[in-house]
């Protein structure tokens, strides 16, 4: 079974703090993704990575950065958290260039106060 784990299920941070969200997958997948899910807006892609040290912007990259130093680990960084970044953050992984099924982690519910 593919396993995608995220470092925290729930996180509360203050405005202006730097926030790190970590994701680890155990299936040697090449591709990893960060999404945010908001009511009525569905899943929106923030960043993705198709290889170590490679990253591509998704649909809503503003206010975020990412890091992929190892194949199994993909980090999402909020440089200076703001209240409009309160959301559910979902990490996913998939293999190859086929872009077939993505396997999701359980999500991190981030609240910025």
């Amino acid at each position: 079974d593919v396993k995608v784990t995220q470092s925290s299920r729930y996180l509360v941070k203050r405005t202006g703090e730097k926030v790190f969200l970590e994701c680890v997958q155990d299936m040697d997948h090449e591709n990893m993704f960060w999404y945010r899910q908001d009511p009525g807006l569905g899943l929106r892609l923030i960043y993705f990575s198709y290889d170590v040290k490679m990253k591509e912007k998704g649909d809503i990259p503003e206010g975020y950065s990412v890091s992929r130093e190892k194949k199994e680990r993909f980090s999402l960084i909020l440089e200076s958290a703001s209240t409009n970044q309160t959301s559910m953050y979902l990490c996913a992984s998939s293999w190859g260039t086929g872009g077939y099924e993505q396997y999701f982690g359980p999500g991190t519910r981030l609240t910025v106060t």
Partner: protein
């Protein structure tokens, strides 16, 4: 510009009856379609998929139909069970070389016992 549209935010169905979830798309380059199911506070899980060269794919109680000329796909669940109550996301891939999936906004299905 929303390339994958799920026009019904919610759907209520009686237990034992058929649930039909609909999805429309605009991008002719989409060649592979997936349905995901998401429970609250969990990540989405892959449910069923269909290639654009097919018009139907069946897996147990779940069947996905694709009408390429209408750019429409639907997910049928028969019979519906209370455990099927979740948010369902339609997703599409824009060609074999694409890493990304484009998601719809989701439809919340409630199966009433």
């Amino acid at each position: 510009d929303q390339q994958v549209k799920q026009n019904s935010p919610s759907l209520s169905v009686q237990e034992g009856r058929i649930s039909i979830l609909n999805c429309d798309y605009t991008n002719s380059m989409f060649d592979y379609f997936l349905w995901y199911k998401k429970y609250p506070a969990e990540g989405p899980t892959f449910l069923i998929s269909i290639s654009s060269i097919k018009d139907k794919n069946e897996d147990g109680r779940f069947t996905v139909f694709l009408n390429k000329s209408a750019k429409h796909l639907s997910l049928h669940i028969v019979p519906s069970q209370p455990g099927d109550s979740a948010v369902y996301f339609c997703a599409a891939r824009a060609g074999a070389g694409s890493y990304q999936l484009t998601f719809g906004k989701g439809t919340k299905l409630s199966v009433i016992p």
